[in-house]
């Protein structure tokens, strides 16, 4: 599409395929579908929710964001629905905030929906970014009640000195200083994971699975190496979906949950890094 060969794209990113939303399909549409799937799998009805958090950096309008529309489509009556327009870090930040708020708000649905095709395929295309991103949505239910796992702790970080290195201006293409992003992510992600695990008295090698933002397979492998764990412990589906921004971590989590799932007492780490820069890690343990 942009003069890059499939082999080159795979070598630099691990991406072989991507999925794009249908013409006319919106971020809200995708979010509602993910939300419905999550609630169904959890055996929860939408009116039981106490709060909705929706992460998207690619929604169709500046305001209101998709949260209000998603809440309306789910027939959520008057509960707070909050947008997290943070790009890639939005789903992890949403989960971490939900874990802290659930005691007060009750069940919180965290949804991440991204239509990155509307961003990167818009002319003029940026050839270095247009080949990396796909569309998708994922969701996660955080509850004060017992579930398949409990959230042990989380750590969130922001460093705004790099705000210009990965940005989407109002009327421009997505701009990414790839070298800076990779350099910072290579350091910050393993440090965040390592610090969190140490604080919680756990070790990376004892972690059952790492569910990381699916930005780049080489980056995922590098984080695994920095932590001294086998790359296989990092679930990966970037080959099929590309980088779906904040949706990617929840899509990975959903697939992993269906294939393997939480085992009692087994630690699972969620981690992300994205525009801002915002990054963080969250530790959960199977129940």
């Amino acid at each position: 599409m942009v003069g890059s060969s499939a082999e080159w794209i795979f070598n630099v990113s691990g991406i072989e395929e991507r999925r794009f939303a249908a013409e006319g399909e919106t971020v809200t549409d995708m979010a509602v579908e993910a939300a419905g799937d999550c609630l169904s799998r959890a055996g929860i009805k939408a009116p039981e929710l106490g709060m909705l958090l929706v992460s998207s950096g690619s929604s169709e309008r500046r305001f209101p964001g998709p949260a209000a529309s998603v809440a309306n489509r789910l027939k959520l009556d008057g509960i707070p629905a909050i947008d997290l327009p943070m790009a890639s870090a939005g789903s992890l930040f949403g989960m971490a905030l939900a874990a802290r708020l659930a005691a007060v708000q009750g069940k919180i649905l965290v949804v991440a929906a991204e239509k990155m095709s509307s961003v990167v395929l818009k002319q003029p295309m940026n050839p270095s970014t247009s080949v990396l991103f796909g569309d998708g949505a994922g969701a996660c239910l955080i509850s004060p009640d017992a579930g398949c796992a409990r959230i042990v702790d989380s750590a969130l970080y922001t460093d705004g000195s790099f705000a210009d290195d990965l940005r989407l201006e109002l009327d421009g293409p997505l701009e990414m200083n790839g070298r800076t992003v990779i350099l910072q992510a290579s350091r910050k992600i393993p440090r965040a994971i390592g610090t969190l695990l140490e604080k919680c008295g756990r070790a990376p090698v004892d972690t059952a699975c790492f569910l990381m933002h699916q930005a780049n397979q080489n980056l995922i492998d590098r984080v695994a190496g920095a932590l001294g764990v086998a790359a296989e412990k990092f679930y990966s589906n970037i080959r099929r979906y590309g980088n779906t921004s904040s949706a990617s971590m929840l899509i990975a989590a959903s697939e992993w949950q269906k294939q393997v799932g939480f085992q009692p007492g087994a630690p699972v780490v969620f981690a992300t890094f994205g525009a801002g820069f915002h990054w963080g890690a969250l530790l959960a343990e199977g129940c």
Binding site: G178, I182, L183, N218, L219
Partner: protein, 83 residues
Amino acid sequence: MPAQVPMNRQAQITEIIRTISKRDSAPDPDESLFDSGLLDSFALPDVLSALEKAFSIKIPDSDLNPRKFDSISRIESYIESRL
């Protein structure tokens, strides 16, 4: 007697670049390591880790600007500033 430390430092940096890039050629001190294709985005973190180890320095996140490490000369200047 000519000062040897700066040459050793440049030679050490060059050797780190050669090892990580897996190329035998020695780049010119002012040659762009990225534009020449010697280093890509994923090699740079390895280079920085090797520099930290070789020169017993710690490179803070705020200094992780690829432009500071785009040539042997720039790397040498940076290391001197950290020693």
